[in-house]
């Protein structure tokens, strides 16, 4: 496992300056080609959705069904990852286009936009991989590092993980409601109701659309459409889950304690973002389908930079990391995903922290 880089305050300041300069350079260059890219993606997602739903509703036989499912899954993945996620990060706010604005955009997924913006943009992006603060770390149900307390239920976590992966959109959707706090008695019923309202509204709408409205439009073909929509949602769930888990839970992705990150400087923040994230390598289509989260490191450094730019600056970020002796965690999809699965299995058992990195926590051992 890679070690955390130790930089002195001067080096951290230099790192921050270099990365800030990189951001300024890209921001000044934003323009037509970025606008064209996101518009092209929107058209592509729409075309794919129309084709997919059309094939499911009006097609005959298993082949048109399978193609329809793939087209619809492709549309949903593109919409959730390359469009929704990125637009809601504000990557295209500068275009002044009300249809591509982070304040108004709502995506095709059961997760309500207001919940996601809070749990993802605020908690996860700012507190990346800080145990106890980044609630995306293990999604409140997985133990991925020895620094997390072991409970007997962790023994079943490979199974929990499978459930989460299959229902990932639901996992993301209820994440910000923080049910755990309710069950521990730290949230009133009233507050729970209040917090769940956007989720219930959004979930009802999504369920109705995919499992009532579109099937009904197909008359006697309704089972075909219902099943197709279910499969497309499943494919989307598995894919987004795999990509997102590869972003922060690979073997070399570091975690941080609250103590380590108190009074963090800008340079330190950048350093944590790099060390808590991992990249995936692949072709252009792969990056697009991952919403460029395959460039998780760059995305975490500059969350509001239009995604295709992340791929362009990646070699320069890598070069900067090399100069400062920071491990740049990047590998192919299967190589990274294997280490994620390994972590899920290994830490199902009561593992102990490596001695040199162990934190003095009374409840360990």
């Amino acid at each position: 496992m890679a070690e955390k880089a130790q930089l002195d305050p001067q080096q951290l300041d230099d790192l921050a300056r270099e990365l800030d300069a990189l951001r300024t350079e890209v921001t000044a260059d934003l323009g037509q080609r970025d606008a064209d890219h996101i518009r092209r993606m929107v058209r592509r997602a729409q075309g794919s959705a129309v084709a997919g739903r059309g094939l499911l509703m009006f097609g005959f036989g298993p082949i048109s069904w399978a193609v329809g499912v793939l087209a619809l899954a492709h549309a949903k993945i593109l919409e959730n990852m390359e469009i929704g996620h990125n637009v809601m990060h504000g990557q295209y706010d500068w275009m002044n286009d009300p249809t591509l604005n982070s304040k108004t955009y709502d995506w095709d997924i059961v997760c309500a936009r207001e919940h996601w913006i809070h749990s993802h943009n605020v908690e996860h992006h700012d507190h990346t991989n800080i145990l106890g603060k980044d609630h995306d770390y293990g999604y409140g149900m997985l133990r991925l590092t020895p620094e997390q307390r072991w409970r007997p239920s962790a023994l079943l976590q490979p199974f929990w993980y499978l459930l989460l992966a299959l229902n990932f959109q639901w996992g993301v959707a209820i994440h910000d409601i923080k049910l755990g706090r309710f069950f521990k008695g730290r949230m009133s019923r009233q507050e729970l109701k209040q917090r769940s309202r956007p989720f219930l509204r959004k979930a009802g709408k999504q369920l109705f659309k995919d499992y009532v409205f579109f099937p009904a439009l197909a008359f006697w073909q309704w089972p075909r459409v219902l099943l197709g929509n279910l499969c497309a949602n499943l494919i989307r769930n598995l894919w987004t889950n795999a990509i997102i888990f590869c972003g922060h839970f690979t073997e070399d992705a570091q975690t941080f304690s609250l103590r380590e990150t108190r009074d963090e400087s800008r340079g330190h923040w950048y350093l944590r973002q790099i060390q808590g994230s991992s990249n995936l390598e692949g072709g252009r289509w792969f990056h697009v389908l991952s919403g460029h989260l395959s460039h998780q490191i760059e995305h975490h450094l500059f969350p509001d930079m239009p995604a295709p730019r992340l791929a362009e600056i990646a070699p320069r970020v890598r070069e900067i990391c090399q100069r400062y002796g920071i491990h740049y965690n990047s590998a192919g999809f299967w190589a990274q995903y294997r280490t994620v699965l390994k972590r899920i299995f290994v830490h199902a058992l009561p593992t102990r922290a490596h001695r040199s990195r162990a934190l003095p926590e009374p409840d360990q051992g």
Partner: protein
């Protein structure tokens, strides 16, 4: 049936039939077939471009069926995409309203290129036949009174002639016989707009006098001389559109002359704030959690834009109130009314306001 539903019921129904009521999605589909098609947006294609002087040109547009028709003197909002960014500017329509369904969508804009990297400069260099633009609905109350006064005075400075052209064409079509005195202000003969068209209009409108004033040769128009220059000055209903300095002077002049007839004005731009001295004032935009400084000589809207924020706007001249924003703290001055707003929690128009203290805005 829908009309009797309450808004919440409508919204609930709307949610259920999504995406079939998603206008943005339908527009996207339609525009693959034809860029002017839309379920609700006004879109128009450029069918002709004509140069009117060395820095002014006209765009003849054919709008889709969503164009509701305009009144002579009204303006519209034109949206352009410049290097990926959507920007809007307001332009007066310089053609008379079409009378039939077929001609209703035929519009002409006459645009003067302003120095700098603004929208008009981009249009001057890039506007071509075949391009499609999104438009806003017609607006503004710079229109002729319902009962057209028998004696009119029009004072048009530079491109301020555009709304008057629409009015003159409209009056000519109606066979208007009343007296119209048009004072056209331009710097030099080469910059005079619509010379040929005005000649033709003078032949159709028996009461029209075109009175051209070249400021380069004859100096600025002196408003005190209006009473000598224009017969029956006090009996006339005046329409004025031109540079801000002229408008300020005219307002003072009219206020000082109690016998003068009514004055109707159209502003093309917010008055320029005087550059302040003293320290830089900082503005906190609380919603976007950003700070920017009030740049001397710019409005709050321009200062916010200069620092990368993009507040909503329409006319940029204090007319449409699209830029309305809640000020939670501090004092601003409205450049049109000259009034200060110093109370917390007041609504201000960003496009015509400048900060007079540090501010906090709900932006």
């Amino acid at each position: 049936m829908l009309r009797t539903d309450t808004p919440t019921q409508k919204r609930r129904l709307g949610r259920l039939i999504e995406p079939f009521n998603d206008r943005v999605a339908w527009d996207l589909l339609l525009q693959r077939l034809n860029p002017t098609w839309s379920v609700g947006e006004i879109r128009a294609r450029v069918i002709r471009r004509a140069e009117e002087s060395d820095d002014t040109f006209s765009l003849y547009l054919q709008a889709n069926r969503h164009w509701p028709g305009h009144q002579a003197g009204q303006h519209l909002r034109l949206q352009v995409e410049i290097n990926g960014v959507l920007r809007q500017r307001v332009f007066s329509i310089s053609s008379a309203p079409g009378k039939t369904r077929a001609t209703r969508g035929q519009l002409r804009l006459t645009i003067q290129r302003q120095p700098g990297q603004g929208v008009t400069d981009w249009l001057y260099q890039n506007a071509r036949v075949g391009q499609v633009f999104t438009l806003g609905a017609p607006g503004g109350d710079f229109t002729l009174p319902a009962a057209v006064p028998t004696k009119l005075l029009m004072i048009a400075g530079g491109s301020g002639l555009t709304p008057m052209m629409a009015m003159l064409h409209h009056l000519a079509e109606r066979g208007h016989v009343g007296d119209i005195h048009l004072i056209q202000l331009c710097r030099k003969p080469a910059q005079r707009l619509f010379a040929v068209e005005l000649d033709a209009l003078a032949r159709q409108l028996p009461g029209l006098t075109v009175d051209v004033h070249f400021s380069h040769a004859n100096g600025r128009l002196k408003l005190e001389s209006l009473t000598d220059r224009v017969p029956d000055f006090d009996e006339r209903h005046t329409l004025l559109c031109g540079p801000n300095t002229l408008m300020e002077q005219a307002m003072t002049f009219w206020q000082g002359r109690t016998t003068a007839g009514p004055l109707q004005i159209e502003r093309f731009a917010a008055p320029r704030p005087a550059g302040q001295s003293g320290g830089l004032l900082s503005v906190t935009a609380s919603q976007s959690e950003q700070m920017f400084t009030q740049i001397p000589g710019q409005t709050l809207l321009e200062s916010a834009e200069a620092s990368g924020l993009s507040p909503d706007y329409g006319c940029r001249a204090g007319i449409c109130r699209t830029c309305l924003c809640r000020k939670t703290q501090g004092q601003v001055r409205n450049l049109i009314t000259g009034l200060a707003s110093s109370q917390a929690d007041e609504w201000i128009q960003l496009c015509v306001s400048v900060a007079e203290s540090d501010l906090q805005l709900d932006l």
